[in-house]
Amino acid sequence: MALQRIGEVRGRAVYLPGDDIDTDRIIPARYLKVVTFEGLGEALFHDVRFDETGGAKDHPLNDPRFEGASILISGSNFGCGSSREHAPQAIYRAGFQAVVATSFAEIFFGNSTTLGIPCVTVQDDDLAPLAASVETDPGAELRIDLEAMELHAGGHRFALDMPATARDGLLQGRWDPLSELLEGSTAVATTATRLGYLPQV
């Protein structure tokens, strides 16, 4: 299973202020009553974007200046809460290719990486100037460079961070681990046998 190598994401960005943006907010539970992930992009941040009659609320994702953005920027502990992969699926299917935050909840981070969505962190002090540059010039293209671990935005350069395992997976086109896990089947059988409580293969 050859996967695309992901070394760079280019695109316009939208800034979603706030810390601890949880996965219930990213996609409310009622949208999880599905047996595929198709169409989830429309549910992204639904209840904070729309009121109970379907009217658009004041929300960055409803702001025409940021329409077509493909990089989502937010605060700390982004994606906390439920393990629902529907959250990164909705983000991806709404057209986003990367998320920038000051930190990520762990399950969300892993789910996103497995889908080939880079989740990179910026320093706390860099968030405000980064957000300001996006607000000032919503049409500007940002560039996330995973080789150099830098984010280029409106003439500014911000240092990025990401666990080496995830970065390596994206750069090498190994972000979905399934084929590599399958290759380990003999070693899996050996470990299972040694443990004793698993079926002897």
Binding site: R25, V35, T165, T191
Partner: protein, 475 residues
């Protein structure tokens, strides 16, 4: 002599298959639990790739998130929900996976079924496509919540690609004061360490307080590890663990049980082992705790006042303001006395026999306040049956609670149990996120079961110690 190891290190080393190219570990998953919400896409991915389930005898299924808790007549009125249960049945049947279905008498919230059946065992790795999988750590298992692509990985290979976690020991010493419960302990821990304090860590809960806890109380604590950002949390196995497991369906019997017990106990953290971090908490400092905001770390003792933006740390001001706006609480005012609309006793955090038994002890002779909707939702069919055998259901019904069928219910409102408008719910569940209980403007206040009972009978956020004379009774 070998270097002393903590439980996490022992389990990790025993289950590590090999190192992957990116430096992660291929980790063998001993037990895999699945439910209807996060598994259908995983089975779909397997079908697309033409892959079979590698070890169907190590995956167990139940249905919990979408099931109605009033009428169980099938097909369900909600067609989407009905499709999901049918899909799970179909997938389990096709792959030879055991499913604890509605007709089994053993259905329930997945994190209750594993322990009840003795499927959850010490020294093992366990994964489930649900963040509250951390619950199973109460048994000394390394239990982690995963996403759907990882459910696919476990189905296809019985392994996961994982990075090793650091271990933080959280030691609570001394004795809990009367009226203070496991739920208060974990809410207090999250309040102290933050909702993101546990990122990158497994939490080891140790010290006298956890030593004295029952397995059900330990499950309450471990359940909410993820709310503190920790992917898993555990308590070292001891005689309490062994006694709980003895005689359960998936636990070995006779000599094999004795042997398993010895192995389980030997798997506990070694004396003198090291940790990446240690936090010490005095049990005496913990009081009944309730949340006031929109994440589980935004919590205060029942006798404290709602925070104000002005007195909050600079870094917290924005989130405090956002939380206050959503919760419609008066900054600086006591939380005690805040009117409620709904009382919910249920969820994988607090819907076990002891939760209902303890609440019933104090609820007897009281009535739910006028205008309050109060629902009691056992976490499993076995809990429901046990409550009914002991007459606990009658106490709840007599008090004016609705007594429901087992499921996740109003914890996340994927079934018909939902808040309406900006109703405020006194809830024994685990998340007070915006919209969590089914209404975008709904409000959730997390607390222990006995505090839910106190809120139900007074119609407001209340101190159960005062309402029921808990402290006096125990003094």
């Amino acid at each position: 002599m070998s270097t002393p190891q903590n439980l996490f290190e022992k389990v990790w080393d025993a289950h590590a298959v090999r190192e992957l190219a990116n430096g992660q570990t291929q980790l063998l998953i001993g037990t895999h639990l699945i439910h209807e919400v996060t598994s259908p896409q995983a089975f779909g991915m397997l079908r697309d790739a033409g892959l079979p389930v590698a070890m169907p005898e190590r995956t167990f299924a139940t249905v919990d998130h979408i099931v109605p808790t009033d009428s169980r007549t099938e097909p369900f009125a909600d067609k989407l929900a009905d499709t999901m249960i049918q899909e799970l049945r179909k997938n389990c049947k096709a792959s030879g996976i055991t499913m604890f279905d509605l007709s089994s008498g053993r259905q329930g919230i997945v994190h209750m079924v594993g322990p009840e059946q003795g499927i959850t065992q010490p020294g093992t790795t366990l994964a489930c496509g649900d963040s509250h999988t951390s619950t199973h750590g109460a048994f000394g298992a390394v239990a982690i919540g995963i996403g759907t692509s990882q459910v696919r990985d476990v189905l296809a290979t019985q392994t996961l690609a994982m990075s090793r976690l650091k271990v933080r020991r959280i030691e609570v010493t001394g004795r809990l004061r009367p009226g203070v419960y496991a739920k208060d302990v974990i809410l207090h821990i999250i309040r102290l360490l933050g909702v993101n304090g546990g990122i990158g860590f497994a939490y080891e809960y140790g010290g006298e307080v956890f030593d004295r806890m029952t397995m059900e109380e330990r499950m309450t604590v471990c359940n909410m590890s993820i709310e503190g950002g920790a992917r898993c949390g555990y308590v070292n196995p001891d005689e309490t663990t062994v006694a709980y497991l003895e005689g359960r369906p998936y636990v070995p019997h006779g000599e094999a049980f004795e042997e398993a017990s010895r192995r389980w106990l030997a798997g506990a953290s070694d004396h003198g082992c090291s940790y990446d971090d240690v936090v010490a908490i005095d049990a005496e400092d913990i009081a009944p705790t309730v949340t006031w905001g929109i994440n589980p770390g935004q919590a205060i003792f029942i006798d404290e006042t709602v925070p104000t933006v002005e007195t909050s740390d600079d870094a917290d001001k924005a989130s405090v303001a956002e939380a206050l706006e959503h919760m419609k609480l008066t900054p600086g005012a006591p939380i005690e006395g805040t009117p409620i609309d709904v009382a919910f006793l249920g969820s994988c955090t607090n819907a076990r026999l002891s939760d209902f038994a303890e609440a019933a002890k104090y609820l007897a002779g009281h009535r739910v306040a006028p205008g309050i909707t109060a629902i009691a939702v056992p976490g499993s069919q076995l809990v429901k049956a046990a409550c009914e055998e002991q007459g606990i259901d009658r106490v709840f019904r007599a008090a004016g609670f609705e007594w429901r069928e087992a499921g996740c219910s109003m914890c996340l409102a994927m079934n018909p149990d939902k808040l309406v408008g900006d109703q405020l719910c006194a809830s024994s569940s685990n998340r007070n996120f915006v919209g969590r209980q089914g209404s975008p403007t709904g409000r959730t206040v997390l607390m222990s079961p006995i505090m839910v009972a106190a809120a139900a009978v007074t119609g407001s956020i209340a101190d159960a110690r005062k309402v029921f004379g808990v402290g006096e009774a125990a003094a």
